[in-house]
Amino acid sequence: MSSKAIVCRCEDVTLDDVEHTIAIGYRSVEEVKRYTGLGTGPCQGKECMVHAALLCARASGAPPETIAPFTSRPPVAAAPLRIFAAAEKDDDDQAQR
């Protein structure tokens, strides 16, 4: 396969970039995200994270279902600031973790 195959379209991260990152020792999806920028663009990993996870699984020989995804960040979908600026003040004090 061409090394220029794109894994993350938002941030132009190639298959070669991901495999190189894993090869030098950054083997978790969180590390691949930080070393390559994968998953930090407009889709926030909806397109690319599964591919990164499978590449991590393949490199380590671990079953894919044991590979942890990177932390999902709110909001679920990109949304304009004005929506949150208009929110009621009282309904917003819930901690997630």
Binding site: P74, L81, D92, D93
Partner: protein, 395 residues
């Protein structure tokens, strides 16, 4: 930059210096030690590189402070940041677009003028601006609430992540061990130093540096030292990328709002939100932050109302009672060095602190900052003529 694999396997049996915490502070110290020839160093990081505050901050770097010591330290950090890409061989996307502080209360003016005078005296070209002059720099600002502003065109922003890879790879290249996913569970004091028990096996160290940031009180407790710094959750968000339009980092003093445009085009922005004091590090995201930030940002920059938020996240500030760092050896534990309590400014301080710490540990020459930042200042009346209280604890 030569990219190097983090150390595989257990740590070596003994070393001259063990650094607990592989964030930017610990890695900066490790790199600076190695650069001076002290390469018998082991860095122990409990997670991955950039997992803690070093990978979660807004990348602001400024010389605008309210104490002379901090201004001078950050002048030195700037020199190091400017040379970082060449020296380390990695692009950290450092951009000197300036820092613009906005005052919205008349009472803030006097302090601002005093700080600007101090900065000018030390050689930082900050200047006072009228609201209209501030708008000339950022035309999208609504300055109707602004009473005055100050602006240093030399301040800047950088992208934090490559800093960590750069320091780590340069330290590894000189023989330093950098262990990831390696937790320190106990530290025994022994003759000639310390024995650290880690999840990858024991390592003896003549000296130990505690650079664990928000986790530093837990590490200090392992040698019986109670630190007064506490973790504080600071939240931040990033918008969709836009064409470059915003030159400086902008900060509103009264609300703690700050926003800048990264080299990736995103608006990176945070704000002070009250949180309950807690001993635990918390990194969950809250809707309260999103709404508080959106309200204030849209009020200050109405044109951003339709810009989309991509993601929000949180990082742990490591906050000391007086906002100043805690450095040096705590009473009763010689050879155990603290590098904590930076209160959200550790990233920008790390280049200069790494250099000064390495200078001290290799040559014995101890910079003034170590005398001013001792742990025992919290247990006695401060002598006159000290560092003074830093007021610009923001972005």
């Amino acid at each position: 930059m030569k990219e190097l694999t983090p150390t595989v396997g257990p740590p070596k049996r003994s070393c001259a210096i063990a650094i607990v915490g592989g964030g930017v502070m610990g890695l900066s110290i490790a790199y600076q030690l190695a650069r001076r020839g002290l390469t018998d160093v082991v860095v122990l990081e409990r997670g991955y590189l950039a997992q803690g505050a070093s990978g979660r901050n807004g990348g602001g770097v400024r010389m605008q402070w309210s104490t002379e010591l901090n201004v001078r330290l950050m002048q030195e950090s700037f020199v190091l940041c400017r040379h970082f890409a060449l020296e380390i061989g990695v692009n950290v996307w450092f951009r000197q677009g300036g820092y613009l502080f906005l005052a919205t209360r008349e009472a803030e003016r006097e302090k601002m003028e005093r700080n600007v005078a101090l900065q000018n005296r030390v050689g930082v070209p900050t200047r006072m601006l009228s609201p209209e002059e501030a708008r000339a720099i950022v035309p999208e600002l609504d300055v109707s609430r602004v009473v005055c502003a100050c602006y240093n065109p030399k301040d800047g922003v950088l992208f934090p992540w490559p800093f960590l890879w750069g320091y780590a790879h340069q330290a590894l290249a000189r023989g330093v061990e950098v262990h990831l996913f390696t937790e320190v569970s106990a530290i025994e004091r022994s003759s000639g130093g310390f024995l650290l028990h880690t999840s990858k096996g024991p390592v003896k160290a003549e000296r130990v540096v505690n650079a664990a940031g928000a986790w530093s009180p837990q590490i200090a407790r392992l040698v019986g030292v109670e630190l007064p710094d506490r973790p504080h959750r600071h939240e931040i968000l990033s918008t969709e990328p836009l064409k470059p339009f915003l030159t400086p980092m902008v900060s509103v003093l009264s609300s703690g709002l700050y926003f800048s445009q990264s080299m990736r085009g995103e608006i990176v922005t945070g704000i002070t939100v009250e949180d309950h004091d807690d001993d635990q590090v918390k990194m969950g995201s809250r809707l309260k932050f999103l709404t508080t930030l959106a309200r204030e940002l849209v009020r200050v920059m109405p044109r951003l109302a339709d810009v989309k938020i991509l993601r929000q996240w949180a990082g742990p500030y490591d906050v000391s009672p007086d906002g100043a760092p805690i450095l040096g050896e705590p009473p009763g534990v010689p050879g155990f060095y603290l590098a904590c309590g930076f209160g959200g400014h550790g990233f920008m301080m790390s280049p200069v602190i790494g250099e000064l710490y390495a200078e001290w540990l290799t040559s014995g020459r101890r910079h003034q900052v170590f005398d001013e930042s001792r742990l025992d200042r919290f247990s006695k009346v401060r002598p006159p003529g000290g560092n003074g209280h830093e007021e610009l604890i923001i972005g």
